[in-house]
Amino acid sequence: MELSEHLFRREHGRLVAALTRIFGIHNLALAEDVVQDAFCRALEIWKVRGVPDNPAAWLMTVARNRALDIVRRERTARTFAPELARALESEWTLAPTVDEAFATSTIRDEQLRMMFSCCHPRLAEEVQIALILNILCGFGAAEIASAFLIGRAAVEKRIVRGKKILAGAKRLFELTDAEFGQRLAVVQRALYLLFNEGYHSASTSTPVRADLCAEAIRLTALLLETPGTAQPNTWALGALMCLHAARLPARVDASGELSPLAEQDRTRWDAGLVEQGRAWLECGATGSVVSSYHLEAAIAAVHASADSVERTDWAAIVRLYDSMMTEAPSPVVALNRAIAIGQRDGPERGLHALREISNADRLCRYPFYPAALGEFELRRGNVEAARAHFAMAASLARNPSERRFLGRRLRECGNIAHGSDVESRDPEDRLARARHGDSRLQP
């Protein structure tokens, strides 16, 4: 029997959700201990006896039996989930109640409630994301830290702070709560940022990026399984994730360096994810509101339909950015729009559009603004100006992989000045990256 990929991480989120249902959110630490214990037993037994036919069911049975023991032993000394208090008191109802908590539909609902609870408005976005990754996705602090290239201590602090707020709540967020709509928007935003952390991760490790993106898609799919949370913009959010994730296999080259859109081998894009993205975008095409998720997904869909940068429908992309400038204007959206204009109408018009960005001063610390200037200058043969822009861009790089990428463009300017061919390159990949910068530019 083979272990399915990420079995332990996946089951961590599911089992913690089920156990929290029984123990109550104030006993989150106890729920986590029980899961840890179950994993320890699994490890000891499976490594000698082999993996059982249904490892997930095996883990669940261990967790269930342990939960029964704990409730029986501690029900006088400890309070468990207030909504189940009565049912847990009596032996008549104890076992069925515990079994109910481990039912597939209950686990799904509890994971949703946990996700909504992690997105408490009192918690900063980075704390929400750390909590989701830790509780629902089973990532440890060190793993989160290495994906985000931040210190482990900082991540631990976020998790501890977040869990304190969580455990202080009497119960998990109810999906029937009056604040449901507002909270759903926060959840969507957190999943969007989680996906971006994966897609644009400063970490050069491809598996790390792919894991974060896959988790964001999995949790979004969880929202899509439930009528209340499966709203048009949730479908659009899922669509944009799939359409971007489809490019991941081609996004980083064999040496771990970023590969810009123009250089990507499009045959390596994941056709299944593209198809799923299109289908989800279709599902989201109801209602009267076009969210920024819809627009981003539509832009990604245009790219996914093109077999090369040259044969991309840039006119459609410019129109979509025009809508975004109306819906959710930001300097970074303006930058992306200018890049698309340059693709549609040539470098002169692109440069013009870049310089026209009214609040360009807010982009002054953002490396992909000078990088875009550099690309267009290079394309119209102005190598000296391009070099200056790339030098500026490289000096603004925020992580090693950006620094190497921009440094490479700078060196290529040098080669061109010494007589090699001017190669047309597309800054669209930086466009996607730029979108990520959005949250950092906006206060």
Binding site: E11, K47, V48, R49, F139, G140, E143
Partner: protein, 117 residues
């Protein structure tokens, strides 16, 4: 071919720590599966053996029964496997791939006594 018993030894703390995060547990599990499968494929696996609970009782003398063995043992036998090997050198060599070694544990290799009279 002779039979040898591998006794897997580890401190209770290291045992707990070997679990780590779900992802590291998965990696550890995969290393064990690979190692066992490899022993089996090469025809050395006689009996997968059994894992043992970390604590039980220690009976000594006529009456003394104590909780243990952790009170006196730095590391505890966590399980055993029986392998077949040409000689003890080969049995030792085969044990070198055991993932417990990377986690700070040890493998005690003991020949099964032969009754060759």
């Amino acid at each position: 071919m002779s039979q040898y018993v591998y006794l897997y030894r580890m401190t209770p703390a290291a045992r707990q720590q070997a679990m780590g995060t779900p992802a590291s547990a998965q990696q550890s599990m995969q290393r064990w599966m690979k190692w066992m499968a490899d022993l089996e494929a090469r025809g050395h696996l006689k009996d997968r053996g059994q894992p043992l609970e970390g604590a039980g009782k220690v009976v000594r003398g006529e009456k003394a029964v104590i909780d243990g063995p952790y009170a006196e043992a730095k590391d505890v036998v966590g399980g055993f496997t029986i392998v077949e090997a040409r000689d003890i050198d080969q049995a030792v060599e085969l044990s070198r791939g055991c993932p417990i070694l990377a986690g700070g544990g040890s493998v005690e290799v003991r020949p099964v006594m032969k009754m060759d009279y």
